[in-house]
Symmetry: C2
Subunit: 310 residues, 2 copies
Amino acid sequence: MAFDRLIEKIAETQNPTVAGLDPKLEYIPASIRNACFEKYGKTLEGAAAALFEFNKAIIDRIYDIVPAVKPQAAYYEMYGWQGVWALTDTIAYAQSKGMFVITDGKRNDIGTTMQAYAAAHLGTTDICGEEVYPFGADALTVNGYLGTDGIKPLTDICKKEDKGIFVLVKTSNPSSGELQDMRLENGATVYEQMGRMCESWGEELPGKYGYSGVGAVVGATYPEQLLEMREKAPHTFFLVPGYGAQGGGAEDAKNAFDKNGLGAIINSSRGIMCAWKKQNLTEEDFAEAARNEALRMKDDIISTIGKISL
Amino acid sequence: MAFDRLIEKIAETQNPTVAGLDPKLEYIPASIRNACFEKYGKTLEGAAAALFEFNKAIIDRIYDIVPAVKPQAAYYEMYGWQGVWALTDTIAYAQSKGMFVITDGKRNDIGTTMQAYAAAHLGTTDICGEEVYPFGADALTVNGYLGTDGIKPLTDICKKEDKGIFVLVKTSNPSSGELQDMRLENGATVYEQMGRMCESWGEELPGKYGYSGVGAVVGATYPEQLLEMREKAPHTFFLVPGYGAQGGGAEDAKNAFDKNGLGAIINSSRGIMCAWKKQNLTEEDFAEAARNEALRMKDDIISTIGKISL
């Protein structure tokens, strides 16, 4: 099961974090940008080439200490189909370095359409007899608002291809409570109900460390809810955004873990990509700064949760 | 406001329908496929070229009678970045023929990430001084589970660029009720609450025919809920899936309209794309069959709801 692979990698590196790759053009050093613009012009193609070069340099400096990357689809789509090409190449490059790749797409749809998304991001597409992997990530974030019809096509492909999903449960943004915190007649909040659905969907994909292949997104910015959901969804592995730039700290994120230090992976995007700004380095040192920040984050979290043991 | 444009086009064509462009490779005639495979091989590039040729032929035969198309992003992503290239060209081609384009992406995220999706699909991206339209659709479907933070970046761009959004409220699939039909402590169902949020988000984008730039997706497969939401969300324009292949008929879809025949657009995807099968035609006649089916659907709906008047 895919999250077994992720958990083993977390234990091996003693690092329960994922580096978010959300590369806006303004984060990328002028030297990379200019080289790409010289080749392709100030075009979507030029921008996409710069995104990939930037990601590659970051991956090269963190792959031995960080178990996973999480490219956010929006920051690639923003640069058109050319940006989506950069996403494709980023996924393949990170995997070639042994990293676990979570595509953050928050995809959602029904039946046959969800099958198409599942094939796109986690599975294969049949081209009149040729099977190809369009994106081939290890896991995908999804939105469960449409219910089981929108999740079953994913768990089917996860089973077949050894992949996983993370369902949005309690998101890290300020207005997440508008719907998610509302209380249902059955006494549960909407996010709690979604957590129950994750536990139920996950039964199809049991894992050997107690966590299923259906994970959940729960933000570090809501530490109480994180603690509540850790108790109420004991088989659900958490992807935790909100550490760093959004205000969550290691003490908040700690609530996502079980007593063995398992059960969650904490994301940092801007904190890692833009680390050179905080370290009084020049932008040309972005990859070194990213590594420094990844090590600092690892120490921050491990010193709070303790040793991770399988 | 974008939906004013759409409403005027609906009134002009007397046709409140949208053709879903969800082109799986197996729907495409062998002659088109083979020509593309000859040029590009049985590759994602070859598949993408076939998708675009297929869409172009359908658009050419319906643009004078159907006001809008709705490409479903999943069926393009399924063919990798090359498929996303076909999506880009499909949007541009349909617009060049005067059609209103709704990208069905059900995108959702928070703050700056949602800004990136909004820029990608409805707005512009800045490439160090050059402003480009990555996809440039007229409207985008979105998921409101994350609350206002996930919607505000869209309404900002809708205001600036004259675009619209459709928020998932009550989806057409069998399991949509698992979460959406649950009753909240305030007495509303989850879908009703989402409808209220649409009404509130729409206040920023008023339209001259009474409908705001924040629409809602409500399925024809749930005619009672469609009627309920038509009453409870009087300023919210509906995108209605579920007609045809999913089982909804004109009598069901009728509930989406107001007394002037305004307030909604009904989608048909497989019904139009695969029409040749039902008409005992060969696959080479797919575009003619698509036109026949589009006309039949128009007559079916107009004979049920009556003349559309502004």
